[in-house]
Amino acid sequence: MRMQTITSRTKITFLLVVSALILAFIPTNEKYSMHGNPHRILKRALDQQSCLSPDQVAKAVAGGDSTIRIIDLRSKSDFLKYSIPGSINIPYSGFLKSDLESLLNSGPDAVFISDDDREANYAFVLAQGLGYHECRVMKGGMNEWNRIVMNSSFFGERISARENALFETRYKVRNMVNEFNSLPDSLKIKYQAIREIERKKLDGGCE
């Protein structure tokens, strides 16, 4: 009896069709799914270096530090009422619908802020799990920012050099923030739109 050999073409077709069939029925990673080793993500979640104090963020804002990008996860209305100059507003509810690649993987380290610690830290873990490791959280959120940077005063007879530098930075940022937030909403929106365009510009290419 002659054995009919299966041609290479048939074998490859079989391989590809069955592989595609498997893919069609398994829950593949859609737009955003966390991946990697959960133990590694846990290790990053427990890393204290992933949190910045409000003073550290204030120092970066005062110095115009371009190595960090503040991402404000509060609602748009809260953001327009009061925000840190230079921050980008991505409401937490729309975080996973936004273009995370251009937001979190294009240069500056992201610093998440929210009202308190919750949403910023949710976003932190999500970002880590999605492969965006260069991100941190401002500890305490805007509540802590207001308490420490915006409303704190020095009480005492003598001030050390370190405390002096600290309060100088706080006063400087306070003025910047108050000045920025005294602008009408339309100007703030325009300012943010311009920053968005600058942020999205590709490096190199035709332009």
């Binding site: 979640a45 937490y92 999500l126």
Partner: protein, 132 residues
């Protein structure tokens, strides 16, 4: 030659079988991240994952409280301590998954509870709450 022909013919089948086994192992592995991050984090969008002490007191039996950092709780209710660094140990995850009711995470550090909540939720653990 017959043997060589047969090997060549069954090679695609073997490859598919290996692929199928690898897919099956991943599908039934409970300690991995679930696809679609948005679905598993949806409770955090509206604060539905936050629970207060009153609700726990009313239905004590259906809650298991996990203390992530040995913090003192005002609840004066029983809680088990699982340090955050050990939350993914096999035994601990098994205990969390097998509990029929709801799990409540507590800690002095709000950031820690938020992070652990998100991590466990993305691994497919439902009925997980953070104490307000």
């Amino acid at each position: 030659m017959m043997k060589k022909m047969q090997t060549n013919e069954i090679f695609p089948g073997v490859l598919i079988l290996l692929l199928g086994i690898a897919v099956l192992i991943k599908l039934i592995n409970p300690n991995d991240f679930q696809p679609n991050a948005e679905r598993w984090s949806s409770a955090s969008f509206d604060g539905l994952n936050i629970i207060d002490a009153e609700e726990i007191s009313e239905n004590r039996g259906s809650f298991k409280i996990i203390n992530l950092d040995n913090s003192s709780s005002d609840l004066s209710l029983e809680s088990i301590t699982i340090p955050a660094s050990e939350i993914l140990e096999k035994q601990n995850l098994k205990e969390i998954r097998e509990f029929k009711g709801s799990i409540v995470l507590i800690s002095e550090d709000k950031a820690l509870t938020s992070r652990i909540w998100m991590l466990l939720s993305q691994m497919g653990i439902r009925n997980l709450y953070i104490l307000e």
